[in-house]
């Protein structure tokens, strides 16, 4: 099936950037990784479209760059400092604050754990597919997920429930 490169880029760039951004937590790096993956795809477009199709190829290229390149990012883009003590949020700010706290914690996870988290909880992929993308066993995926969730659970501020009980 013929797929036009320009049409593919225009249609799929937003989704690819969201994927890369969730992996990296950094807009510039997300653009870098996506651009690099698309450049590689462009240079072998005919072979890719005749094989697995462009979307799986580009997504895997983004993922592999994220995992294997030592530090493509700038030195400014590093994990945030430890969050200070602060009161449990309330009112309209609750949801935003909770989401931001989780986002901050996600950025501190090791890259392999972050990749598993994004693939499992944003892309909704089964562990077997995540294992195929990462080049590891499903058991390893489960171990990464377990460690990531444990770290998040330990660090998260309890959410205030209706009635004021955490």
């Amino acid at each position: 099936m013929h797929v036009d490169f320009a049409e593919f880029v225009l249609a799929r760039t937003p989704a690819l950037l969201r994927f890369a951004y969730l992996l990296t937590g950094d807009r510039h790096l997300a653009e870098d990784l996506t651009q690099e993956a698309l450049v590689r795809a462009h240079r072998r477009w005919s072979a890719i479209t005749a094989d697995v199709g462009p979307e799986p190829y580009v997504r895997q290229a983004v993922l592999r760059q994220f995992l294997s390149w030592r530090r493509r990012r700038s030195f400014f883009e590093r994990p945030a400092a430890e969050l200070p003590e602060r009161p449990i949020p309330d009112d309209f700010a609750d949801r935003v604050a909770v989401s931001d706290e989780m986002w901050s914690l996600l950025r501190r996870l090791p890259r392999s754990q972050r990749a598993v988290v994004v693939l499992r909880y944003y892309e909704d992929l089964p562990d077997a597919e995540i294992a195929r993308l990462l080049g590891c066993s499903p058991a390893t995926v489960r171990v990464h997920a377990f460690h990531a969730l444990r770290r998040l659970r330990t660090a998260l501020t309890p959410v205030r429930l209706p009635g004021g009980q955490p």
Binding site: L16, D32, L38, R71, F75, E82, L106, V118, L156, V159
Partner: protein, 335 residues
Amino acid sequence: MMHEVEERLRSALRDHAEDAPAGAAMLTTVVAESGRRRRRAVVASAAAAVTAVLAGAAVAVPLLSPAPALTVAAPPSTAPPAVSPPVAGLVPADAPGKVTFPLTAPPKAGYGVPSVWRAAARPYLRQTVQDADAGGVMAFSATAYPARPEALGPSTPTTVRGRPATVVEWSDQTGVQRSLVWQEDPATWIELRTEPAAADPDRLRAYAEALQAQPSNGPVPFTFALMPAGWSVDNVTPTSVTFCPPDVRPDQAFTDKLAVMLSTTAEPAGTAVKVGARGGWLHHQEDSTTLEVPLGDGRSLVFQLMGRATTLSDEDLVRLAAGTTPTPDAEVGKG
């Protein structure tokens, strides 16, 4: 609790996915970059063919040359403008022995230990402060320029440190940004910003007023005996130094540069090479080359060439690595 964490995780990922960049110019950028690489591959193939003909019988060059002679490649008579010029070997290093910012951060309670770096070829000072309004940690960052930095948006006149100044406002993908710009002395302009969100002008002015009028120094992580001829050092932090080729604009990224880092020792990958008295691993990937030199204490020196910096030869990369030494100030990088 685990189920709750998973739900919060899904929700945070959904929320923050919307913060991803739009990538409006992605197609143009990708096609241009792909074309540039194709042209570079053609030039490289032609150069290799010419070299093979001139050399007659091919002679393998050992990765570690015993003599520190410079390798000077004859430049091609014509080359596309987008292609990096050939690297004319290595020269004695002109890397900065120290990093100095013209002012000193205020030693205030609640403020973090300031960092002094070289960033995008400019002296840079950064200091964090706990800030509930900013949702956690906010950082003041000041950059020194030899001339007035280009304004990114409309300016409002003000005064700071007894000098005329301007508050500049602009918007980017993260929202409204604001900086305070003033001329500290005839040869020094300072631009002060905050991360991750803009601070109000009064807060910027208060921090600027608290800066002390004496230089402050930052650590330098490595000493270098050699560096690529014509390249410059554009970033120095406790964990990394980047060398920028002459046709690459200095910025804060590692792309298209040689990045030297201190990292935890990874699994060996690539080809074993001798680097001075040490062993190392040279690993080529599609658009990058990495040389890892384990130091024997769980740390490694890592030399990473990316993009346009891959014009540096393997032999020169190994020679540069052999002349690189970590200082006691070097820190292992993360990420």
